[in-house]
């Protein structure tokens, strides 16, 4: 992916070494980082946890290794073990060699010579990873002076400014004196990267560097990492749970499960020719933002094993649909994937691709993962056949506004401005459909949900639930009638359940409240447990005895208890692991079809939205900028913001990822306080930036109204899709070149022409 490498033959030769295919003890001389048989054990109250079991890899200069796995797979522990940052109680064995120097066993002090110098790391949570009491300048300079104590003050300062500029922080000189809390999450992650690359490291370890960020910011930060890698020539170990993030970056992938690498190989091998059921399941479990045809997701049942007991067989066996007797006897070793792959699109069987599965040879690109995992058929709702306009409206919002006054002053409060969290929102949801609201955090999507859930008659705008208007909701009876139609599923399945309630109590609360009799409640609870796929005999357990996915199922069961028409889903799967996510999404899909439910969903993951929704609204600073049928909006986005948002989503498809053109928005979401008078999006708009001044004037002074696609200014081709509205004056304007990025492809890629990116900037 880096521009350094040009000849593809050379590439292949190099890759031979990269994925870690060598006999223990042998390390290629040119590897900058060699890990051999890395094992990490922790002592816990319950016994010894074997968190990492036998990780091997070699990393060549300038290359990127992606380590993919779910939480608890040992990927973060691996990175900390390499950095020597595990607590002293952890037992680390094996070998970690940096440029041939053994790092394991070094004292904390000896290790400090390498940490932050040749070996640097970027952590997951930028909000807590910087010391709150020191300026960012101080923290960057500290990274320099630790290794270069003789560097002059001017020199360190100049370097810090240079670094901040490199990671894209505007006016870096002034920002040196800023404290971390004055920066947004994305900016702080940039500072973290600046600290990591301060001493031009040979190896940069990035542990979920974008997980805590919005997609648009994620795209920016990934771009910064890319630049940083180019500038320093560092090899990168990229740790992530998101198969999309590494698809575009990594040269090689290592998939980890239960502390062990279960499949390694080049990025092409892994994505196009997975040979381990777990990898196949992971790839099938992620919805694709670019897939219009709906295929149900591959659920991987069960939960990862407990690492306290050493496995007698394959650790994935309990969850594997292909499990056989052979799988239960002895843990399979990583073996080279033999034979030329049938698909013919990967590399020849050169031995770099390894998988730990006894059935490797019977798997390949042509095996349908949906069949193997028995993915349920796409459920069909009885409403799907009914035209939308003929279906009953279950929720309608008319011009809903929520403005917060921003006050300042001590004794006498002055109003210095208004935060328009939600600004004139109108939409409706019909029976049996899923309507989603997407946007960056801070765009007002959560406030919208709150306005609906906390309806009252004095709010600004009308909320009609099941035919009853909030304006008429003055008596308790109307209110409870409205409440019955509307239930909610929360983002954090742990926080949404009272830790002191058993599942039975959780589920009986809404039923008791509805005045149901005790025996009926018991019967209903058993029904609900089965409906959401939980064992009914678990009703006496407490929430903390369930896994995250199971807890979310309890939350869904609670929402369904009183048979609502509409369920509000606030980021229902964002707190779950990928494999668990698929199960919950499939469940939601099934329930919608079987029970004729409508959903109002808020999500930042557009792939999930695309998969589950019928209609979608894109929000920006409290306003809907584009709304319509999900396929229309995603396949033919009209608003520049929608286009940018869609382009920011990494797709788990390396060829597409490497060739597509991305729109990288600049800066963060502006504070709603500074909302401009004209188009809200003008400050970050790639079209606006490329417009001539005369046309820019229009964007700055007039607020673009939501207009249906098909009005005169829109091309004729789009008129076939009537359910799409957007708010932009110049949807066909050219995109600013600075915000467009195309990475040079370094993969021999015959099919890339067929997978041309959908975002068309310049004609």
């Amino acid at each position: 992916m880096s521009s350094e490498t040009t000849a593809s033959t050379e590439m292949t030769a190099e890759r031979l070494h990269v994925a870690g295919l060598h006999a223990p003890g042998y390390a290629p001389a040119d590897a900058v980082l060699s890990v051999r048989d890395l094992n990490v054990r922790f002592n816990s109250e319950n016994g010894v946890v074997h968190a990492v079991r036998g990780v091997d890899f070699d990393l060549l200069p300038g290359k990127t290794l992606g380590i993919v796995g779910e939480s608890g797979s040992g990927k973060s522990v691996t990175s900390l073990a390499i950095m020597g940052l595990l607590p002293p109680t952890a037992g680390v064995t094996g070998s970690v060699r940096l440029n041939g120097t053994e790092l394991l066993g070094l004292s904390d002090k000896a290790m400090c010579r390498y940490r932050g110098n040749d070996l640097a790391m970027v952590f997951q949570d930028p909000l807590s990873s910087l010391t709150p009491v020191y300026t960012v300048g101080h923290q960057i300079i500290e990274a320099l002076t630790v290794h270069h104590p003789k560097m002059s003050k001017q020199a360190t300062e100049a370097r810090a400014v240079e670094l901040l500029g490199m990671v894209g922080i505007p006016s870096p000189k002034d920002r040196l004196k800023a404290f971390p809390h004055e920066f947004s999450g994305g900016m702080r992650q940039r500072v973290m990267i600046a600290i990591a690359i301060a001493n031009n490291p040979r190896v940069l370890v990035a542990d979920e560097p974008t997980t805590a960020l919005d997609v648009t910011i994620q795209a920016q930060v990934l771009e910064v990492l890319h630049t940083a890698q180019e500038e320093t020539g560092a090899a990168v170990v990229m740790i992530t749970h998101d198969l999309g993030v590494v698809a575009g970056m990594a040269d090689d992938i290592m998939v980890m499960y239960a502390g062990k690498p279960v499949e390694t190989g080049s990025v092409e091998d892994i994505y196009y020719n997975p040979r381990m059921p777990y990898t196949m399941g992971l790839l099938g479990a992620v919805p694709r933002v670019d897939a219009s045809e709906k295929i149900s997701l591959v659920p991987i049942e069960g939960i990862p094993p407990n690492l306290i007991h050493s496995p007698t067989g394959c650790s994935f066996a309990p969850r594997c649909p292909l499990v056989g007797d052979a799988c239960l006897h002895g843990e399979p070793e990583l073996r080279a994937v033999g034979g030329p792959p049938e698909a013919g699109n990967g590399l020849p069987g050169n031995g770099t691709h390894k998988a730990a599965c006894v059935k490797t040879d019977s798997l390949g690109a042509d095996v349908d993962v949906h069949e193997i995992f028995q993915a349920p058929a796409v459920p069909v709702s009885r409403f799907d056949a009914v035209p939308r306009l003929e279906r009953r409206t279950v929720l309608e919002l008319k011009d809903v506004r929520k403005h917060f006054p921003l006050l300042k002053g001590s004794l006498i409060k002055r109003r210095i401005g208004t935060v328009k969290a939600v600004d004139g929102l109108s939409f409706d949801i019909r029976e049996g459909e899923c309507f989603s609201i997407v946007g960056e955090s801070g765009c007002g999507k959560t406030t919208t949900l709150l306005e609906i859930m906390e309806f009252h008659k004095d709010q600004d705008g009308e909320v009609t639930i099941g035919g009853l208007s909030n304006k008429a909701a003055s008596d308790a009876r109307t209110k409870s009638a409205m409440r019955k139609e509307l239930q909610m599923v929360f983002q954090d399945p742990t926080g949404a359940l009272d830790p002191r309630f058993t599942v039975y109590e959780v589920l009986s609360e809404p039923l008791e409240n509805a005045g149901m009799a005790k025996p009926a409640i018991r019967k209903r609870i058993m029904e609900l447990m089965q409906l959401v796929g939980l064992q009914p005999d678990h009703v006496n357990r407490f929430p903390n005895q369930f896994s995250g996915g199971q807890r979310q199922r309890i939350g869904i069961a609670r929402a369904l208890a009183v048979n609502p028409k509409l369920v509000v889903l606030d980021e229902p799967v964002s707190a779950l692991d990928v494999s668990v996510q698929a199960g919950v999404i499939n469940l939601l899909d099934k329930l919608r079809a079987e029970l004729g439910l409508s959903y109002l969903m808020v999500a930042h993951d557009l792939s999930v939205v695309r998969h589950i929704s019928n209609r979608v609204a894109v929000m920006y600073l409290g306003k809907i900028v584009e709304i319509g049928d999900v396929d229309n909006v995603f396949d033919n986005p009209r608003h520049p913001y929608t286009r940018a948002l869609l382009s920011a989503i990494p797709v788990p498809d390396p060829r597409l990822e490497r060739t597509r053109e991305r729109i990288i928005l600049q800066g963060d979401l502006p504070s709603p306080l500074d909302a401009p008078t004209g188009c809200n999006f003008a400050t970050r708009c790639p079209v606006f930036a490329a417009l001539p001044a005369a046309k820019q004037e229009k964007c700055l002074t007039l607020e673009p109204p939501l207009e249906p696609v098909g009005s005169p200014q829109v091309t004729a081709a789009a008129t076939a899709a009537p359910d799409q509205q957007f708010a932009c004056f110049f949807p066909d304007g050219e995109l600013d070149a600075d915000m467009l990025i195309v990475h040079e492809t370094d993969l021999p890629d015959p099919q890339s022409t067929n997978l041309a990116p959908k975002m068309k900037g310049k004609p």
């Binding site: 790391m121 709150p132 020191y134 300026t135 809390h181 973290m192």
Partner: protein, 328 residues
């Protein structure tokens, strides 16, 4: 930041006013010096008593509200806090006693904070080791001993030391030897001999709270993400903790300073009583015994002011160590 502090100061001023007012009414309605006068020999007539009190501004025939207004006017316009039933002027008495109290507590407060925080850091660095267990157990033990009894025990110990040595090294009561003559050195040694025991006692009782708090806050931060970042830069674990975690763990400790100063002052009543230092604390108790409305109110006002000073100092300290507060 100064505006913020000024605003806080204004709030506290209002609170001081309210607590003092409440205190005045409480005192005026419960304290009746006239009854004490009745016990004097020869027994004065009620008229004589009333006359004598009227002259001192303590007219018992007036309603509490009228007396309050008179008192408030005097305080606000002339900074005159009134007189005691025996005729003494509060302002004059007050100055001496504040000085004595301050002398008694200043060293203890500083020592309490320094030792408490230092031991907190020390024990946090040696979590669950022998030193940590001993020191932390001590701090918990202090928690279940009432302050005056602890002072008394220290006093007892000092007496034992004196007796076993057979020479009077420590003075367990009083602020100085009355009528002591000699050069500056002699005076200084005498002062030290008087200071040691009370200061030691107050400090021994005081630092436990800070040790536990500082230990806990530091331990909370030792494994913080930013410490890991600092280590990833190439700092050793100890460097990362001392340079990063320590400063952050000071923030809540700085905030709790607000409660040390008044707490020590409150404990000061006991200390002054037990070590026989005639400071504000013991005066306030005497004032009540002597049914002295004005003195009681003045000491109460003093207590409130001390609290407010502590709170503002805490705000100030917090803004010093925590940049996040500075913006507000």
């Amino acid at each position: 930041m100064f505006r913020y502090l000024a605003k806080r100061a204004a709030t506290y001023l209002l609170m001081i006013f309210l607590t003092t007012t409440a205190g005045y009414f409480l005192a005026v309605s419960t304290l009746q010096p006239a009854l004490l006068e009745q016990e004097r020999m020869p027994r004065p007539t009620p008229e004589q008593v009333t006359n004598s009190f009227r002259l001192k501004g303590l007219d018992p025939t007036l309603s509490p509200w009228e007396r309050y207004l008179d008192w408030l006017t005097a305080v606000v316009t002339r900074w005159d806090w009134g007189r005691s039933p025996n005729g003494a002027f509060i302002n004059a008495e007050f100055g001496d006693r504040v000085w004595i109290s301050t002398r008694l507590f200043l060293a203890s407060i500083v020592l309490t904070l320094i030792i408490g925080v230092a031991l907190g850091v020390y024990t946090a660095a040696r979590q669950y080791k022998f030193q940590d267990r001993v020191i932390t157990s001590y701090s918990y033990l202090v928690y279940i001993v009432p302050a005056p009894i602890a002072y008394f025990l220290v006093q007892l110990g000092a007496i034992n030391v004196n007796e076993s040595i057979g020479e009077r090294i420590f003075f367990v009561t009083g602020i100085s030897t009355p009528g002591l003559e000699g050069n500056a050195w002699v005076q200084f040694v005498d002062m030290l001999a008087h200071y040691t025991v009370p200061t030691l006692a107050i400090t021994l009782v005081g630092w436990g709270t800070y040790q536990i708090a500082q230990r806990q806050y530091l331990l909370d931060n030792v494994n913080a993400d930013f410490v890991r970042t600092a280590r990833a830069k190439g700092l050793t674990r100890n460097q990362a903790i001392t340079r990063h975690a320590l400063r952050v763990s000071f923030i809540p400790v700085a905030q709790s300073i607000a409660f040390t100063i008044p707490a020590i002052f409150a404990g000061g009543f006991f200390a002054e009583k037990i070590f026989a230092w005639p400071g504000v604390g013991s005066w306030s108790i005497d004032a009540i015994a002597l049914q002295d409305v004005n003195a009681a109110t003045a000491t109460l006002a003093y207590g409130s002011v001390i609290f407010a000073i502590g709170a503002i100092l805490a705000d100030f300290a917090t803004t010093l160590v925590d940049p996040r507060v500075r913006v507000q």
